[in-house]
Amino acid sequence: MTNSPPIVAIVDDDPDNHLVLKNAFEECRQDLRIKIFVSAEDLLNHLEQIRKESERSIIDLALVSLYLPGKTALRLVKQLKSDPDLKRIPLIVLSDQPSDPDIRECYDLGVNTVITRPVLFGDLVDAVKILCEYWLGPVRA
């Protein structure tokens, strides 16, 4: 296992969500690099750029808001999960409603997990902690 800090991508068009999620991750562990993307296109451009420069895995975990404008979240899931170089990135979709009809489609398209965003910050921190332990393993020295 590499000692370089795990890279977590947050894809969300709402600046408030950036702040809350970034704070939740930072509260859970300090060995992460958080990268914020404001749209699906923003993330894809970044991944394309990195792909040209390096062969190493570029992102260790991606969190995508289900509510990106124009249903682009579903298109992003489809694109990432059908790209042989990108499909192994653990891809988590954040929903606001556990009964959202698009959740089924997210799983159909190959997302690793859908998570309903907890309302309370403390619950969000609990969820992010479990999420990090599950996908990123122990804190890297």
């Binding site: 089924r104 799983y107 997990t113 859908v114 599950y134």
Partner: protein, 179 residues
């Protein structure tokens, strides 16, 4: 192999795995209905061990174990010995071993993840194989997660507890397309 895993409050597994909220109340896992967990493993001893680990980790669920890829297909289609909906409830999660007779785990995974009726069911590969190739192939085939099965029971309980925290408390599972 079938059973219902139900922890009573204050059982040893519950004390070990739950944590207290600021209010002092026990944490309540959020899945609204009792999750149905179906394991695909030809080794009956492994099914017994996982069932015991589920109890120790307080993973409340309805647990079923089928022996190979053809049986899980029959189970999902409710054919053969799995016609009864009550004894063969539709899975919320599938735990899949890789070394299976007749149709190996990779073939089962490929079959599940290319079938529009089944592909939304989260599949967690649970195997003793730590081969990077197996990990890559399984994720390429659409596995939702890949967990290395611990050789010792305590390690298995820890893995199952991690699964419980993640899939019962944090994840939102897809709606079932069949009841």
């Amino acid at each position: 192999m079938s059973g219902t895993i139900q922890c009573s409050p204050g059982s040893s597994g519950d004390r070990k795995t739950s944590h207290l909220r600021p209010s002092g109340q026990e944490k309540v896992y959020k899945q609204a209905h009792k999750v149905v967990l179906v394991m695909v493993d030809d080794d009956e001893d492994d099914c017994i061990l996982v069932e015991a680990a589920l109890k120790d980790a307080c993973f409340n669920c309805t647990f079923r174990c089928v022996q190979d890829g053809l049986q899980i297909m029959e189970y999902l289609k409710r054919s053969g010995q799995y016609r009864d909906a009550k004894s063969a409830p539709y899975p919320d999660l599938i735990l899949l071993d890789l070394n299976l007779p007749r149709m190996n785990g990779r073939e089962v995974l490929a079959h599940l993840k290319t079938n529009p009726h089944y592909r939304s069911i989260p599949v967690i590969v649970l195997t003793t194989s730590a081969s990077i190739e197996d990990v890559k192939i399984c994720y390429d085939l659409g596995a939702n997660s890949y967990i290395i099965k611990e050789a010792h029971f305590d390690g298995l309980v820890t893995s199952i507890k991690t699964l419980k925290d993640y899939w019962l408390d944090v994840a939102t599972l897809p709606p079932k397309n069949q009841t």
